[in-house]
């Protein structure tokens, strides 16, 4: 069964360092998302991406964050200068038709745990 894959599974970094989290969405999917979950808390939306541009972003997704689809398969989240409060699990998700089309189903990857020291 096709799945969303994420790397790395765990990254430890020093405050102020740049981090890139990578995702390979399901191959025929057109909509891509990043969410994050601080330990023990709820899942928070960061950004949605369609047709090579951001379609929606949250207040969390400030100038320190960026997303890119550098080739036909990868979807990356970059945090330019990490802060302690960026420590969280970051989930990538993809959808064939987006939330309003078809079954609207989102498929989540296994997550990348980011620890900022």
């Amino acid at each position: 069964e096709p799945e969303v894959t994420q790397t790395p599974s765990h990254q430890v970094t020093q405050m102020g360092q740049e981090v890139i989290l990578r995702c390979v969405p399901i191959s025929n999917h057109l909509y891509f998302y990043w969410y994050r979950q601080i330990l023990g808390q709820k899942v928070e939306f960061l950004v949605s991406f369609y047709n090579n541009e951001i379609s929606e972003k949250s207040e969390i997704f400030d100038d320190q964050f960026s997303v890119e689809r550098p080739d036909g398969s990868n979807f990356t989240l970059k945090i330019r200068s990490t802060k302690l409060e960026d420590s969280a699990m970051y989930f990538c998700a993809s959808s064939e038709w987006g939330l309003t089309g078809g079954t609207g189903e989102l498929f989540f990857g296994e997550g990348s745990r980011l620890t900022v020291l």
């Binding site: 998302y33 709820k42 899942v43 928070e44 939306f45 949605s48 939330l99 609207g104 989102l106 989540f108």
Partner: protein, 111 residues
């Protein structure tokens, strides 16, 4: 701004019992999602409810959606230990491409 609220947030129950998790959302939406999350793991899709009155069942779990009341329920029948997990509901505002999640319900099923 869409708000999604679940209750209860914590639920400890015995095997064999029935219980219901409630999910209220604040703005008009035709779709409601339920996910399961095991500790340290990803979000597993349980149900996508696509319209008012939708009911879906999988094993001991049954979900329903009432868009007029802005309420979804996840009913657990004859609970077994394997169902211990955190359950999230999520919805989105019309035209948006972001899911807003509830706080999650941590379900513990004791033998």
């Amino acid at each position: 701004e869409l708000k999604v609220e679940q209750n209860p947030l914590f639920l400890s129950m015995q095997e064999g019992k029935n219980y219901t998790i409630y999910c209220n959302y604040s703005t008009t939406s035709d779709r409601l999602y339920w996910y399961r999350q095991d500790p340290g793991k990803s979000l597993e899709s349980l149900f996508v409810l696509l319209s008012n009155g939708a009911v879906k069942q999988e094993g001991r779990l049954m979900a329903s959606l009432d868009t007029k009341a802005r309420l979804s329920t996840l009913h657990i029948t004859a609970a077994v230990h394997d169902l211990s997990a955190t359950y999230f509901c999520a919805s989105f505002g019309w035209g948006a491409q972001k899911l807003v999640f509830g706080q999650g319900t941590r379900l513990t099923i004791n033998p």
